[in-house]
């Protein structure tokens, strides 16, 4: 890929950031490519050494804060013409309530995901409780010379303890999964905003 193509592609993928920010980044990468070429690398190799535009864009977006992207988005909105603003104002009761409903739905979906996680941990806690309770009552039965009941109680306690170990790993995995998903969704939302900026 030539330097010009590379910078063109990168500009396209970074749109959504502020103009000055994009310019500064492109100048930086351009200088890097030229310094490599000055050292004797071909243009092709110098560009390849920087990495793909996808990688750079992905890292940049992940590092850029939400507020920065949102600010840029608002700036873009300023370019609406008058009748668009009037329509936006008149339509406020409709789009505002729709927006609130959409946000509420998304939040409730997210909350229910966490509810599943919490209930999984509750199962884990219940197993632990049963194990501890089983051992205690087993000992009490044993002291009252109810040997058979005591053995049954202790066995049940051991089964619960075993199950609790299994559920612990399951819970841990599920919690990790949800946290990872949250991170991915946040990056996806940032990307969505940037894509929108591009369309303008």
């Amino acid at each position: 890929m030539t330097k010009v193509n590379f910078l063109f592609e990168l500009r396209d993928k970074l749109s959504g950031l502020s103009k000055e920010d994009i310019e500064e980044r492109l100048n930086f990468y351009s200088e890097m490519i030229e310094d490599r070429m000055e050292e004797g690398l071909s243009e092709e190799d110098a560009v390849a050494a920087i990495g793909t535009t996808d990688e750079i864009a992905k890292q940049t977006i992940a590092e850029t804060s939400f507020t920065k992207i949102a600010k840029e988005k608002l700036k873009v909105k300023k370019s609406h013409n008058t009748w668009e603003i009037v329509l936006l104002a008149l339509g406020f009761p409709i789009w505002a309530s729709l927006l609130v409903a959409a946000v509420a739905v998304i939040l409730s979906l997210y909350a229910s995901l966490w509810a599943v996680i919490i209930s999984l941990w509750a199962v884990f806690a219940a197993f632990i409780g049963c194990a501890v309770g089983g051992i205690i009552s087993g000992i009490i039965f044993a002291l009252n010379s109810n040997t058979l009941t005591a053995i049954a109680m202790l066995a049940a306690a051991l089964v619960c303890a075993g199950l609790s170990i299994f559920t612990f790993f399951g819970c841990k995995l599920a919690t990790k999964g949800i946290l990872l998903l949250t991170k991915k969704v946040i990056i996806a939302i940032k990307r969505f905003f940037i894509k929108k900026g591009e369309a303008k």
Binding site: N27, Y29, E31, M32, R36, I56
Partner: protein, 106 residues
């Protein structure tokens, strides 16, 4: 490696690369290569962060018919390197203490 620790290390590495004389992006990457592999986008973020924190300043100079950015360390930047050295002296003595426990155990 712990992200916070790595970030601190990278900052000081870049400062050390411009400590003796002003340097430019590609030279910094080359100078640090034997010690730490740094991608262009990572370096950009670090330079930006150091500039915002007033640990370095940026100037533009002509080079071979094009412009190149040079990074100069500030007094705060030099102080940061000194702070780092002092902190690591402490960490080093803790490290020695921890390692000694290992040997007596064996």
């Amino acid at each position: 490696m712990d992200i916070q620790l790595k970030r601190g290390l990278l900052d000081v590495c870049v400062l050390a690369a411009i400590k003796n004389e002003a340097s430019y992006g590609y030279k910094i990457i080359k100078d640090l290569k034997p010690y730490i592999e740094l991608s262009e986008s990572t370096l950009y973020t670090i330079l930006k962060r150091l500039e915002t924190a007033n640990l370095l300043t940026v100037s533009t100079a002509e080079h071979g018919g094009r412009l190149r950015k040079y990074y100069h360390i500030t007094n705060d930047g030099l102080k940061r390197i000194e702070d780092f050295k002092n902190e690591w002296q402490e960490i080093l003595s803790i490290y020695q203490f921890v390692s000694k426990e290992d040997i007596t155990d064996d």
